[in-house]
Symmetry: C2
Subunit: 315 residues, 2 copies
């Protein structure tokens, strides 16, 4: 078996991590990916604490393999979320959107492995200093909330790899085995895959959103709302409203007012493709069908191996 | 020898193409790269026709290997440029920034190999229809003038590969052997490298600009001026002026007035780091020293091979 820093650290067969996406990554998706040899993550960002507890418990019933929870550190109920994670003995926590020094030692003392998501060299170093076990470096092409630096996966991974000593997971633009191989060539020990797993029956995303992901083309997404929190959106009528506000020279307050509350749930969970906020990566343009999570994992590995076999050295 | 569609087409040893960058890529750089086994390109975009002729003639004296000329098709003196290229028997022409159907057949009838640069699936298909021999697909992270779609190399290469039958060259974010390997894993047959070759003694760029490239960090560049022609700039006082205009809600005319004429020459050739326009890729953050072009080519191949050797299959 091909072992590396990530498979050893997380106790998984393949270094494929399913991103803990809001309104997509519940226990069904997480357990399916973990059962297939990757690492499934429950996305707590869209869950009330007691809903998260339910997902963790169901995930434990559905798989005997390691799984994790993704936690946005700016979450208002963060104390309650962390209490539940520790009470339920979740073995792995991915933290994002916040200061890693706040929770890392607390989680590690309780026996958790901690991985932190960054989009810059600066925050990779801060996370390493905070004592995390591994880092996810996420490029500009990634879906959802995203870094302000606009550094792409191709340029970010070597930069982060150079300055950290802990294992590195690449995210952004990785929707296939060849892209996983590319990330490993750049220096990653594993990959985090989001958009591709949205297009699975196990994702809790609304079927209409899944279909929109499959239909996405090269120019279907844009990173926008940089004045609030940058986010990569699928272009739909809500996105057009955002663009129209920008064209009028709108203030941050006006943008914030338009966004309002519940837009992401409306779009990705309730399937309102008109008024909802639809977060997805550029790689959606490569996604052509809805496949079970286990098949996605197997296809990654098969095409990774096939691509590697074909690459030749130069002399 | 590892042969593929690009090395066979262009008659070169390694599928490494040095980009034909304005104010950087004269006969010295092009011949040095060609002599090292890659393909050197003279960048005609910053040359008057008779200057281009001189560079072509000197390049022919300096190398017996294939080399090419990069031609922006929107160039005002385009007819004269093409006449010189054909009169001087330049074997390879890379076209960019314009409609490939205008010149491709004319060049091919004269025996030239023609490669066209695109940043989208749509224009890759148009170029293929126009009969070009190969395509360069350039990602968002690339320096200089750049596509409007903001598609990164990681996501663009597989999308273009899927729809074209001719050889494919990846550009954007490729400054090392591991990145070249990543591009090949994504489906490219070769790579075009710009920024890395700016940091060579053979580049005609001003030494002050070369030093600025070496000092660049992760957040040192930004793609801007999208209302004119999008361009990735190194952040300097001129860039700050552009940002200030945007903050005031400036019109396209005001932006155009600020840019004026000769900003690129002033910055990259004359070394005015205050008032000049400095075009460079995100990958500048990875560039740490000025090395002879032949050493850059050799380092690419050595680290490509070393990285490939270390990658293992999964079972």
């Amino acid at each position: 078996m091909n072992k590396n820093g990530i498979t050893e650290l997380l106790g998984i067969r393949y270094p494929i991590i399913q991103a803990g996406m809001i309104w997509a990554s519940g226990w069904r998706l997480a357990s399916a990916v973990s059962n297939a040899g990757g690492l499934g993550l429950i996305g707590s960002g869209s869950m009330y604490p007691e809903i998260l507890r339910e997902h963790i418990q169901k995930c434990k019933q559905a798989t005997s393999k390691p799984f994790g929870v993704n936690v946005p550190l700016l979450y208002p109920d963060i104390d309650q979320i962390m209490d539940i994670i520790l009470a339920e003995n979740v073995p792995i926590v991915f933290t994002a959107a916040g200061n890693p020094s706040l929770w890392t030692q607390h989680l590690k003392l309780a026996g958790c492995k901690v991985v932190h998501v960054v989009s810059s060299v600066k925050f990779a170093l801060k996370a390493q200093e905070a004592g995390v076990d591994a880092i996810v470096a996420e490029g500009f092409e990634a879906g959802g909330h995203n870094g302000r630096e606009e550094t792409t996966t191709m340029t970010l991974i070597p930069l982060v790899k150079k300055v950290i000593q802990i294992p590195l997971i690449a995210a952004g633009g990785i929707g296939s085995g060849p892209a996983m191989l590319a990330a490993m060539a750049l220096g990653a020990d594993g990959v985090q895959v989001g958009s591709r797993f949205v297009a699975s029956p196990e994702a809790s995303s609304h079927p209409s959103f899944k279909n929109a992901v499959i239909e996405a083309q090269q120019d279907s997404t844009e990173l926008t709302l940089k004045e609030l929190t940058p986010v990569r959106l699928l272009k739909n009528p809500f996105y057009e409203k955002v663009k129209a506000l920008y064209a009028q020279g709108a203030s941050t307050e006006e943008l914030s007012l338009l966004l309002g509350k519940g837009r992401a749930k409306k779009g990705m969970f309730e399937g309102d493709l008109i008024e909802g906020e639809l977060e997805i990566g550029q790689v959606a343009a490569q996604i052509e069908q809805i496949l079970p999570a286990a098949e996605i994992v197997n296809e990654f590995i098969a095409t990774y191996n096939r691509t590697l076999e074909k690459l030749k050295m130069f002399d």
